[in-house]
Symmetry: C2
Subunit: 501 residues, 2 copies
């Protein structure tokens, strides 16, 4: 241990530091109590003892163990010192850790830590394959200079489609040609950087892939990224790419956009070709994409969407009933957005039918997923994560009558939703909650999923385009505002967001 020459090392510090090294440098008990305690690492800054301890407990241990190769002490006074240490793990690289130590009534504690572990070649929570670029786009075009992350459900020539599941990947053929949207984006000049992780078969909204881990949410460290387009969303939020290509069947663009403070669009059902896209539930599957700014969101739309019909302006409507489906802090974000934009009509909405609609949507989605992949899924139940496995088993148990009833109810719902929307733009929460903390239990994940699906199923049932605009709660967490319009009005929503952002 090298010590700054000016002052002697404080008594007891060395023992406390070594004791912590013997355990793990991220042991929660090392951190000082109180709201000012800090922990920074490449996944983000955690503030306050409670948040630090919760997040560290939920994360896999940082791989900065290994032989201590240096420890530099800057003594401040008898009760404070900064220790900067370097470790050399057997797996290569270097771990570095800066800790401010203070003598508290409980003994020596860390009040702030900043850790940089040896980083892997690629963050396999976010990506499966990456290149510089992996596939170059055309040298000229409206998207020249933009970079693209492709959800691992779309075909990329020369690569397999992994669908978020190792067993699926292992038997997947090498694709001979790009998915239609990938071709369009390459022709428009965007470079494809790589293939991103997805929840298994896109069948989740949490973004916590059982096999590949949970991508970081840089806008809300210590919280879920949202899924199923989790890899593409994190890649955009992390600044790895400017455009994240995803899909939205039940909210897989809207939820990660909302959790991570991104712009996103789920396009009108059927408006953007799905050739080369692995289906989940064809009646609801749509192409979608995520960006950090509204202008690029619209410019991608200019490339992928059918030609722009004559623009129509629209009355903005906020259905008060839909707000009550969301947590109050999220509802307040939507109210705030409406207040800021102005000219938003408030009207009541009877939410009584929502649970049944959401159930009908779910039944049809499950039925179609089983139709599409049941033969493979039935043989690979043990290869699935527990959450997706549960959904697959429920899908396998569906009776024809369940599906018939759901189909009839979905048709009714579709008519009613199209009437409700009409020529207007509906303003509602993109997700019912902020991003849940990492490590919340299955009950809370299920509550969040249920509440969000009651909102997101509206676009699914009626095939509507849905644009998500990032917002922030009073406590600073991301929460998205969702805009819905009649099918085919994608450009109008994109124009509105570009104007009002």
């Amino acid at each position: 241990m090298t010590s700054s020459p000016r002052l002697p090392e404080p008594e007891g510090l060395r023992e406390a530091f070594w004791a912590l090294q013997q355990r793990s440098a991220d042991s929660p008990e090392a951190y000082a109590e109180g709201p000012a305690t800090l922990h920074a690492d490449p996944d983000g800054l955690l503030v306050g003892h409670e948040e630090v301890v919760a997040a560290l407990a939920a994360r896999p241990a940082a791989t900065d163990g290994g032989r201590l190769t240096a420890a530099h002490v800057q003594t401040i006074d008898a009760d404070h010192a900064l220790v900067v240490s370097v470790t050399a793990p057997a797996e290569g690289g270097r771990g570095q850790r800066t800790q401010l130590w203070a003598r508290t009534q409980d003994g020596w504690r860390v009040t702030a830590a900043h850790a940089t572990g040896p980083a892997p070649a690629l963050d396999t929570r976010v990506w499966r394959v990456v290149g510089d670029p992996l596939v170059p786009g055309a040298s000229e075009g409206p998207l020249a200079g933009e970079t693209l992350a492709v959800k691992d459900l779309y075909a990329l020539a020369g690569h397999r489609r992994g669908a978020g599941n190792p067993a699926w990947l292992a038997r997947a053929p090498v694709e001979k040609q790009h998915a239609a949207v990938v071709s369009s984006l390459l022709d428009a000049g965007a470079d494809t950087v790589g293939l991103t992780r997805t929840d298994e078969l896109a069948w989740s909204l949490a973004g916590a892939n059982h096999h590949h881990g949970t991508p970081p949410n840089p806008a809300a460290p210590g919280r879920l990224p949202g899924g199923s387009s989790n890899g593409s969303a994190s890649a955009v939020a992390l600044g790895h790419v400017s455009i994240g290509l995803g899909t939205d069947t039940g909210g897989s663009i809207r939820v990660p956009a909302s959790y991570q403070g991104l712009f996103g669009i789920r396009s009108t059902h059927g408006a953007v070709p799905r050739d080369g896209l692995l289906p989940l539930a064809p009646s609801y599957d749509t192409v979608g994409w995520l960006t950090r700014d509204a202008d690029l969101l619209a410019r991608v739309g200019d490339v992928l969407l059918p030609p722009r019909p004559s623009p129509r302006s629209a009355e903005l409507v906020l259905c008060r009933g839909l707000l009550t489906e969301a947590d109050p802090e999220v509802a307040a974000v939507v109210e705030g957005w409406a207040d800021r934009v102005g000219m938003v009509v408030r009207e009541p909405f009877d939410t009584g039918a929502l649970p049944a609609w959401r159930q009908a949507w779910s039944t049809i989605q499950s039925h179609e997923a089983w139709q599409a992949h049941g033969r493979w899924l039935a043989r690979h139940l043990d290869d699935l994560g527990p959450d997706v496995r549960g959904r697959v088993e429920a899908a396998a148990a569906l009776e024809p009558d369940d599906v018939r009833r759901a189909t009839a109810l979905a048709a009714t719902a579709r008519r009613r939703i199209l009437e409700l929307v009409g020529d207007r733009v509906l303003v509602l929460p993109a997700a019912a909650t902020v991003a849940p903390r990492l490590g919340v239990g299955p009950a809370e994940v299920a509550r969040v999923r249920e509440a969000t699906l009651r909102l997101t199923c509206l676009a699914g049932l009626a095939g509507l385009p849905a644009v998500t605009v990032p917002g922030r709660t009073a406590s600073g967490l991301p929460a998205g505002v969702c805009l819905l319009a009649a099918p085919g009005r994608d450009h109008d929503l994109l124009d509105l967001v570009r104007r009002e952002r």
Copy 2:
């Protein structure tokens, strides 16, 4: 700015912090004078004001600019405070910076900083393409569980060979089959993680590719990684992979191994098939690989080398004249290794012929590189970095008489080197110097190159196998010990290193 509630913020700190934010958080003038000042970032820990300032000046500015989104102050006393700040660059991600500030006689200064910028999807200084894995190896085999980085000179089916130059990459065809050694390693169970950067056409020993930047040297932060197998070497040192496949024509395995504290082997010329390897100078080009441990180095040899002949023990010989070619701190590492191993015979060596031998080696190498690639190079001089361009222009100006004379001298040198080695193992420095600091001028780079080539050309001229063993100088910097033996004795060298490490 959130302040820890316990104490008021020190006077003047806020102004100093903001003034630094207005410039760049890495401005050298912010750092306190003296040997205890620290700067940590993902490229390593810099110690002392001089090293911090030199390295920051040589590096491209860290991309942690952008809007300040949070700053937390932990006040320690009226003259000390820790500031942890978060920035949100327009390009996405988050920059995080922990700074210990102290009031000095010069005003507020940073005595320690730890910065984590938004990381890119992949470190394009090290890699061109990466996958998880990019190409899986056989599920069983002697190298199952190992991971492989492939220098971007070897064919990988489905990918182009980039050779460290963007213009070369742009016109390169997609390879139809793997290079022979890549196939062997995949068959043995190693997963190929990706393709690594190289100096242009492998024609450098510095590891500072003009187009793709200088990979980090985690064993010596702020210093060159060594080349031309720089990407594979950094990938191993960083812990991205366990095996780095490279080439060695004039030291391209030995120099990065020496600079980064790795084990490495340049195999006997012609002993390992070069099918699918882009040539630089076929008379000298060899297959080589790098690892973090001697055992794996030998296990890869078991896969790639011709079957093991009956092992022969050998007398270890340290030629004192060769030590004088290296900087004293490096010579001391070699002496120290010999002392530790014991039973090393010291003998004199007349170094008078070395400059001419090194020149003959260089002339033939340049001539062959021009034969191999002259047509392309002549049309692409403007697409080359200045150092490689200089070598190409010198190669183009060679007269047939130069080549004839060099060839005759090289034949003499080869005989004399083979006689010198005989049945023995020569112990010498792997490179003449430690890794030069980033940002040293071209004159120092040329001196280092010249001095190292006088040592490394011996194996080149005589086609010898060369194994590099990591060592450390008295000041803690990596410096390798090189072991040479007669052609075909690769296994004996690997066994020796495995035994003596």
